[in-house]
């Protein structure tokens, strides 16, 4: 590269030019991202502190085992693999858009920006499904000597220890027929809840197969808040990234960057988008893998 010789002759710190040889806006984008890394870092580290202060923490393979359309099939980490793949893929299309920008190819930039936007929207839809499933999917838990049906919310979650067999047997006797009927219906969809509730309680208890229900205690309360807080903050970054990318696509299509003579704006939007992917690497690590 001939540019290296130029670099040595340049008086970088004399003013009037960037000592780092980058445009001001791009440098400031880097510093913004560095500060944002500390924000995400602080969230994840406080999650780590709480997790280290507990004797028990839920196993992600137990929490994240559902896949759209697969019902109760146990598929640990399958759906989040899809989400991760979508985000890596959209990072590639983004860097290809930046590449076409360097060459001044407007059609290429628009094509790859459109794919990046689609990837971002797909990721957000996946996250919406995941949240909906966690919040509304009710699981039987043992609490205060009886069975309750709860989903994962900020106030509690069903991901505690496996409950002791003798405790569960006692708890079934203390639980309402409605809850028992729902538990049976969950595994036998052909039996209607209303019909089940007409049966005597002893018969209902006999119909519950303890080998397949895996009743747990309530998990650490902090788990829900941290999960929704941090993945939500990341999801909001993805959302704002999609909006920025849509604006960039519209500006490119109107020829704004051709008139400016450069596609540096695409580069800056690209930095933000890659940062969102970078954060996902660590969210994925802290919540789904370890």
């Amino acid at each position: 590269m001939s540019s290296t010789t130029t670099a040595q002759e340049t008086k970088w710190w004399n003013g009037g030019r960037s000592p780092f040889n980058v445009e001001y806006g791009k440098l400031m984008m880097w510093y913004f991202l560095m500060s944002d890394a500390f924000t995400f870092g602080a969230f994840l580290i406080s999650y780590g502190t709480i997790r280290f202060s507990q004797n028990f923490w839920p196993d992600p393979n137990v929490v994240f085992n559902a896949f759209p359309g697969a019902g109760h099939t146990n598929l640990p980490l399958a759906f989040v693999s899809v989400m991760t793949f979508i985000l890596i893929m959209s990072s590639v299309t983004m860097v290809l858009a930046v590449h076409e920008g360097h060459r001044g190819n407007r059609a290429g930039v628009m094509k790859w920006m459109a794919w990046t936007i689609l990837g971002g929207i797909a990721f957000l839809l996946c996250q919406a499904w995941e949240w909906h499933h966690l919040i509304t999917g009710e699981h039987a838990v043992l609490a205060d000597g009886k069975i309750e049906l709860i989903g994962q919310t900020m106030g509690g979650n069903p991901w505690g220890h496996l409950a002791g067999t003798s405790d569960v047997t006692n708890a079934l006797k203390n639980s309402s027929p409605e809850i028992l009927a729902k538990m049976i219906h969950d595994h036998h969809h052909d039996l209607a809840i209303a019909d089940l509730m007409k049966k005597p309680k002893e018969e209902l208890i006999g119909m519950i197969n303890l080998a397949e229900t895996h009743i747990r205690e309530k998990g650490p309360i902090a788990f829900g808040g941290y999960f929704f807080g941090i993945t939500g903050f990341h999801g909001f970054h993805v959302f704002s990234g999609v909006i920025i990318n849509i604006v960039m696509l519209i500006m490119a299509s109107k020829g704004v960057f051709d008139r400016k003579g450069h596609y540096l704006m695409i580069e800056k939007a690209g930095l933000y988008w890659h940062f969102v992917d970078l954060v996902w690497v660590f969210v994925f690590l802290c919540f789904y893998l370890v």
Binding site: S18, N21, Y24, M34, T84, H99, G164
Partner: protein, 140 residues
């Protein structure tokens, strides 16, 4: 693009060609393979946990390896996709050096959490009894 660009930029990186596209796809495959290995390792913990007397050291080792692989992914995203590796060294340092704070940040706060757990287990027997595994669990 040889047109007038920012006056603050003294020289331009040469216009990237086909070899840049090749590098992008190479990085993509690398990230994909690392992610699949990570998922495999995370998944293996699920099976190790099924054995009641599993080795805690083994699980910790696997988790440590996943953390290192994640750091490798982060390096490739920042260096290749965000082109930080192509910038001037001084600029890289103004971003990388402040991030060293994370070493203290992570160590201190995980240590703190762990110490709180030990103190609670020592002085709050109710907490310990309530949060440790039940003896007859897993039988169903």
């Amino acid at each position: 693009m040889e047109h007038q660009t920012m006056s603050e930029v003294t020289f331009h990186h040469h216009v990237p060609g086909q070899e840049n596209v090749k590098r992008i796809w190479k990085t993509f495959w690398l990230l994909l393979v690392i992610t699949i290995i990570e998922l495999g390792m995370g998944f293996s913990i699920y099976f190790i946990h099924k054995n009641p007397d599993y080795s805690h050291g083994l699980v910790l080792g696997i988790k440590g390896a996943i953390v290192i692989l994640s750091l490798a992914k982060a390096f490739y995203i920042v260096s290749i996709f965000m082109h930080l590796g192509d910038e001037i060294r001084n600029m890289i340092m103004t971003i990388a050096v402040p991030l060293l704070l994370f070493i203290w940040f992570i160590a201190a706060f995980l240590w703190d959490g762990n110490s709180y757990k030990n103190l609670r287990n020592k002085y709050d027997k109710h907490f310990e009894e309530r949060t440790l595994e039940k003896k007859d669990a897993g039988g169903h």
